[in-house]
Structure formats: structure tokens, C-alpha cells
Amino acid sequence: MTPGGSKPRALALFAAGAYAFLHLPVLILIAFSFNESRFTVWTGTSWKWYRELARSPRILEALQNSLVVAAAATALSTVIGTLCAIAMGRRRRPSDRALDAVMQLSIVTPEIVTGISLLAFFQWIFRFLDLGLGLGTIIIAHVAFSIAFVLLVVRARLAALDPALEEAAMDLGAGPTATFFRVTLPLLQPGILAAALLAFIISFDDYLITSLVAGVGSETLPMVIYSMARRGISPVVNALSAILVVALGGLILVADRLQRGSEHWKVGTFESSAAPGK
């Protein structure tokens, strides 16, 4: 049935190799975060780098900054993107096309371009306002690049819903408002949650745009990792990386579950929400 009987085995080996290439580097890094020695020689298991993390005021402050930024950016972008998806899910108006194009452009724009244009924008506008770069500008930037992702995910969920459910509610006497809040919104909820999780992840993990609009004095977790990584390897960064990967991996697992829900796995959602230019 399958052309070429021996092919699958060679192909399976190749696939296994590809998966190893994708996952081994980070898995090895996580393993070595438990290494007692600070060198690449295994001397014994230890939690000491994690304890050191918890004692570092710089890292704790960066963690707090990251959480504040990601929470604020997630809340704002989820609300804005969901409202947008709901409006566009209805019969579309010609002007929607323009907003759609803007959203697509924001997804394909390389991060470095988004970052420096925001930096230039903030520097220009701060000539007229008595404000400066900081957590506020980071949040604004993160919302700007997250809205399009939220829109994408919520709209995919909306498109997968069965219109008959809403018609049924209307037929049973529910008005448009009641139908929306008691049928549509609950059905959309997994999609909205998944979108919020994705927004949180991309906000929490962003380095490039964040570092450009952060100014001095507000450091996020990826900024700490980056500055340490530039200076070489530190077991503390290994531990920090391990925590980050496990936390983000858990979130993405939940988001994936939510997104699949009743519908089938949709390649399109993840595929088109891939952000170029990291």
C-alpha cells in the first residue's frame, strides 16, 4: 500500500533525528541547570542555582516587571482583539478589509522594525509630553503586537461555531443581547482564553521590542537572560531558562487543549500566527 516498503523506517529515523534536533538542546540545558558544578562537567544534582535565583534581587524585580507587563498587555489586547473579532465575525463591511490588512502587516513586520519604529515614535511624542520610556511604553508596545494574534485565534473559534446554535436561541425567543451573552460568548470562551494565553506568552517572552522601548531602569526577565547570555554561560541563566521553558510550555499546552476543544486540530491557527523576525 505504501510505496516503497523500507521507506517508512528510514523516514521514521529521520523524523526522530529532527525531533531530537528540535528538543534536545533545551532538554540538555534544563538537565544541566541541576548540575552542581558551574562548568559543563556533571558533578552531582543540586538545586543551588534555583536557590540563587530566588535570592537575586535583580531577577526578582525583572520577574515582577515581566508579570505586570504581561498581565496588563494580555488584558488589554484580549479585550480589544475579541471585540474586533466579534465585529468582523458578523457580516463584514468593506472597511474591515483595511483593518484586516493592517493586522496582517503587523504580524509580518519584522520585530526589529516594529521595535525601532515604536522607539522613534515615543521619542518624538515625548517632546510634547512630560513622560518617559518605562513599563508603560513596554505595555503599549506589547498590546500593539498582540492584538493581531488575539484576533486570529478568536476569529478561528468564531468561524468554527455552528450558526444554528444562535438561530436556535433566537427561535426559542432570546433577543440578540441575550443570545450573545448566553450562547455566543460562552461558546467563544475557550477561544478567548486560548488567545489570552498566547498573548501572555508572546508578551512574557519578548526581548527585542521590549528592550528597545524599555528605557533605563525597567528590566524584564528576557532582558536579564539576554544580557547574561551575551556575557557567556551562567548556571543561574540555565535555571532561569528551565523555569521559563516549563512555565511557557505548560501554558501552550493549555492553550492548545482549549483551542482544539470540540473542533478538530486547526493547523491554520498556529501556522498563520507564527511571528517572523525574532
Binding site: L29, L99, V113, I147, L161, L248, R260, G268, F270, P276
Partner: protein, 292 residues
């Protein structure tokens, strides 16, 4: 249902929203995207035609010379290197991604979703950490060199990090998922009966792959290639961390002009050039590629 089959999204609500509430729902998105995405781009566009100010920043007069500076061999080399590295990363991703996608789509069976998820997972779990992991593996006292020396295969550590090769590995590792997903989608759609027909008609495995499978999955190849190429071309983190500042690409040039060199007009021109290439590449392949 009919609409869905013709590939259009079904209008979820059968009633259309009143114009006013439609606009009210869209207003926050319009305002935010205009103020914090479009306007900044316009500012960069304007800056790219201004001159460098005395203390950084920008000044009059208007000039087109920022774009003219790209013919300088120094910058031409950076552009050329960026294109080469991005093209090489694309080719490698295709070489690794096609068999992988083919395996998942054809032989994944009930593990298909899980296998696909394992491809997507690293894409969403910290790009930065994944790049850092390569420093851990490749540097002079990294895992690979330590192992090689312990095994007695080499005496001095191999220069694995801080060169174009390391950047290439990082980019392929980072963007492989972008290649696999569209490929998977197009291979999945391929009707296996066509391959059986080809075999029945006497085609050998290679020629049936080359003359049936590959042409029919072309859209996935285009889409995956463009996504990887565009992402690699705009890369900043990978060349900065793994290239060690030596093999800088366009992204690093832009960042450098805005920070160290403080030549905002030239940096603006470079970033618009990058953006133009990205948008053009995506548009060119729009008809051919399998974007959803």
C-alpha cells in the same frame, strides 16, 4: 455549510450589526493600531528622508541619500550576507522539514496531533532560551567541545560558536516549525490514490515523488519557504548572540544605527528596506503559497 465548502468563512451571525455598534467594537483596535503601529511606521518613513542631527536624532534638510548609502560595499556586504544566510536557512529547513512533514502526514496515524504539537511547542517556548541553549552547546567550554576533548577526538576546542555556521544552526532550529506546518497541510491534502496510480503506471518511487508528490505539494513548499526566509532575513537575536557581532545581518545593522551609531535616518532607511523585501516576498508568493 455551502459557504464553508466554497472556502469562505460562514457569517456567524445571520443578522448584520448596526453600523454604529460595528464601529464601536472596532474602534479600540483601529485607534491602537493606528497610534502605535501605523503612525510609528510613518515616522520611520519620514525619518528615512531626513538628515542625521548633531546629537543623534534627525534634522532637515530632506534627502534621499540614506537609501543611496546601500551601494557602499560595506552595506552591500551586509545585505548580501543576510540574503545568503536566510536562503541557506530556508534550504536547510526545507531539507529537514519536508521529510518530517511527510512522515507526520503519511505515517503519523493516531499520533499525528501529538507529533504536530511537538513541532509547534518549541516555537512558542522562548526563542531566547532556545538560542541560549546553542551557546551552551557550542561554545569553547560547551557540551560538544567538552565531550570531544574527553573522548580524545580533538585537543583544542573547535570554534563552533560566533560564526556564520552557528547563526545558521540557530536560525534553522528557530524557524523549522514555520516550514513544517504548511508542508504538513499540503501533504495531508494529497490523495494517496494518486501515488498508487503513479506506481501502477510504472513510476518508480523517486519519479513518482518528483513528478506527482512534489508538484502537488508545491503550495506548501512555497509558503513554508517564504515564512522561513522572511523570518530569517529579519532575524536579530540569533545573529547577535550566536554570531558574536561578527556576522551581522540587516536586523543588527538597524539596531546598531538606532543605538550605538545614533544615525536614525540611515537606520530608518535600512528598516524600511527590510520591510519592503519582507512584504514583497510575501506578496509574490501569495498566489502560489498555501497561507491560511
Amino acid at each position: 455549510m455551502q459557504l464553508r465548502e466554497t472556502g469562505q468563512r460562514p457569517p456567524f451571525f445571520n443578522t448584520s450589526l448596526p453600523r454604529a455598534s460595528h464601529w464601536l467594537l472596532l474602534a479600540p483596535a483601529w485607534v491602537w493600531m493606528t497610534a502605535f503601529f501605523l503612525l510609528p511606521l510613518v515616522i520611520v518613513l519620514v525619518y528615512s528622508f531626513l538628515s542625521k542631527g548633531d546629537y543623534g536624532g534627525v534634522a532637515l534638510p530632506l534627502t534621499g541619500s540614506n537609501y543611496g548609502r546601500f551601494v557602499d560595499p560595506l552595506y552591500l556586504r551586509i545585505l548580501g550576507r543576510s540574503f545568503l544566510i536566510a536562503a541557506a536557512a530556508t534550504a536547510l529547513c526545507l531539507a529537514i522539514g519536508y521529510p518530517l512533514a511527510y512522515y507526520i502526514a503519511r505515517y503519523g496515524g493516531r499520533w499525528k496531533n501529538a507529533l504536530l504539537f511537538l513541532v509547534v511547542l518549541p516555537f512558542w517556548t522562548s526563542f531566547l532560551v532556545r538560542t541560549y541553549a546553542w551557546i551552551f552547546l557550542l561554545r569553547d567550554t560547551g557540551l560538544i567541545n567538552t565531550l570531544l576533548i574527553r573522548l580524545g577526538w580533538v585537543r583544542v576546542p573547535l570554534p563552533l560558536l560566533y560564526n556564520e555556521g552557528a547563526v545558521l544552526v540557530g536560525l534553522v532550529h528557530g524557524f523549522l516549525p514555520l516550514m513544517v506546518l504548511p508542508l504538513y497541510a499540503s501533504i495531508e491534502r494529497l490523495n494517496p490514490a494518486l501515488l498508487e496510480a503513479a506506481a501502477d503506471l510504472g513510476a518508480r518511487p523517486f519519479s513518482s515523488f518528483y513528478r506527482v508528490t512534489l508538484p502537488l505539494t508545491r503550495s506548501g513548499v512555497y509558503a513554508g519557504s517564504v515564512l522561513v526566509f522572511v523570518s530569517a532575513l529579519g532575524a536579530y537575536i540569533t545573529p547577535d548572540l550566536l554570531g558574536g557581532g561578527k556576522s551581522i545581518m540587516i536586523g543588527n545593522l538597524v539596531q546598531n544605527q538606532f543605538t550605538t551609531a545614533r544615525d536614525w535616518p540611515f537606520g530608518s532607511a535600512a528598516s524600511l528596506l527590510l520591510m519592503a523585501v519582507v512584504v514583497a516576498a510575501l506578496q509574490l508568493c501569495r498566489g502560489e503559497g498555501d497561507f491560511r
